[in-house]
Subunit: 318 residues, 2 copies
């Protein structure tokens, strides 16, 4: 977690540089990504998922992840996160020096086979091996391992997923030694009642300190309503993507992360301190649009601007 | 209120035929409006604001309101609402036989002067005269008079508006004899904390039974998050507009009612029964788009479709 984030009410974790770019055909030049990461960190975003350790032949867009981790680690007060789908990726993440490693585990086995070509049983074995690989490192500077339960709110291939299975898988990955578990609405199927119910059940099963974040999409316009439910349940780390870039190539029709600019506006307008400057964020967005001229960026605040007389939330005095 | 609406958990009130069309340059032919109203009522929408009694020279788009009220009154189980900005409009609304009359009263006096050319003092006098005009009618079939406090969450001209003023104006209009008071986020400035706070304060001042509805916009993407806050506070009537048509021509930059299709999806997915069929609503949308080929319709569910295996909420058994 970012050292400068102690007083933030909500911790916004930018995933556009990973989740966004992996769903874009254009390969963004490394220098443009670095400019994005540096500018967004300067705008006050405390964590950025800079890439994914997957084979470059699968996702050439993210082939420069190690270089980006190295660059981002030099920025002050930034938590540098990466995604790793397997043990090989976790080893690369460890080499890179990332602060946080996120591993996707799909609650839908059909989606798991499509996404990472592994059954649940194989994924649990892989996670145990990841935990062992991380434990070999000196405890000082050891990265946090989060398992993100994708398709936790439903799957475009299987339809609804049983909530009991979500809870059982959350328990299992914590037993295997993951530091945290997260819920991911990969497909944009989630609704606020479900966010509340599942969060309560997972908290009851593994402890609220082992599930602090959530990854939501805005596929059906329900992203920020789901954020409200997440906040109600005490979740304080919210993933989002600048301009709403991203989705999941193996979950057809599921596009659209929640938009960082709109999320930060919502939170700050409610008096929840994020540490993020919205005007600066909008300038970063302009830079990303210039680097990706053929991609559509989403979001409302970019069009409407801030309200007249808008005031930011303030940090509580520690 | 719609006679068929007794078991609905949330009562969705369509304003696209008024708020939407008054912000569109195209004058929609009366027959196309009737087709829209009939199809949306058939999809289960319990209330439709079919137009506004304003001079045709100001809003030629709504010149056929009396004809539409007459048509809509013949539809089963539909509450027929209209807007009326002044006593003259209320008299016309009474003549037409509308079930519900909504009067906009802007908390921002600057906006009031721009919108209806009246000060607050003049508007209070006008409302008293409206109440008297309605009281002359036989109590059987007398329409409900709601005063909608526009710019209640902030004004594009004045900026923030004092919450004390919102509460005082709500008290005043109830004292003057209005049946209900509503809050309207005309400018899309509102946030969920503000929705909660203002609703609590107005409820405390006038009673929860005198403020049951809210009119929200999605200008900054926060519309459905605000709906969550409204539901938390017990509000059960939510205005929305098919395809998000609408805004306010006197509040520059403030466009975008919340989208009926997305609202109904949110509510039904949460298990809140609206009585509305989303697929039918999407078909109505297609019809409206065909009748307004040059207008942009908004919304996410229309693009993404319903989730695989989606189940509607069910009505509680009475």
């Amino acid at each position: 977690m970012a050292t400068g984030g102690a007083t933030r009410d909500v911790y916004v974790s930018e995933v556009g540089t990973r989740d966004g770019l992996q769903n874009v055909d254009t390969v963004m030049p490394t220098d443009a990504k670095k400019a994005w990461i540096a500018a967004e960190a300067a705008a006050g975003v405390p964590e950025i998922e800079v890439g994914s350790f997957v084979p470059a032949r699968l996702l050439p867009q993210l082939a420069d992840t190690a270089d980006l981790v190295s660059f981002a680690r030099a920025l002050p007060d930034l938590s540098v996160a990466v995604l790793a789908p397997n043990l090989h990726g976790v080893r690369a993440a460890l080499e890179s020096g990332a602060h946080r490693i996120s591993v996707p585990l799909s609650v839908s086995e059909t989606h798991s086979l499509a996404n990472v070509k592994k059954t649940h049983a194989e994924m649990f074995e892989e996670i145990a091996a990841m935990v062992a690989a991380i434990a070999e490192r000196p405890s000082q500077g050891r990265p946090a391992l989060e398992v993100s339960l994708s398709t936790a709110f439903g799957c475009t291939l299987e339809g609804p997923v049983p909530e009991d299975r979500v809870v059982a898988m959350a328990e299992r990955v914590i037993e295997l030694g993951a530091d945290d578990v997260g819920l991911s609405d990969t497909t944009g199927y989630g609704n606020p009642a479900q966010v509340r119910r599942l969060t309560r059940r997972v908290h009851a099963a593994v402890g609220a300190d082992r599930m602090t974040g959530i990854h939501l999409h805005n596929t059906r316009g329900q992203g920020l309503a789901n954020v409200m439910a997440a906040l109600d349940e005490g979740l304080a780390t919210i993933d989002s993507s600048l301009g709403g870039l991203g989705g999941c190539p193996f979950a057809p029709g599921a596009s659209g992360n929640i938009v960082t600019e709109d999320l930060v506006f919502l939170l700050e307008s409610m008096g929840l301190y994020t540490g993020i400057d919205i005007e600066q964020l909008l300038a970063v967005r302009d830079g990303v649009q210039a680097a990706l001229p053929h991609e559509t960026l989403y979001g409302f605040v970019a069009d409407a601007g801030l309200p007249k007389g808008f005031e930011y939330a303030r940090a509580a005095l520690d």
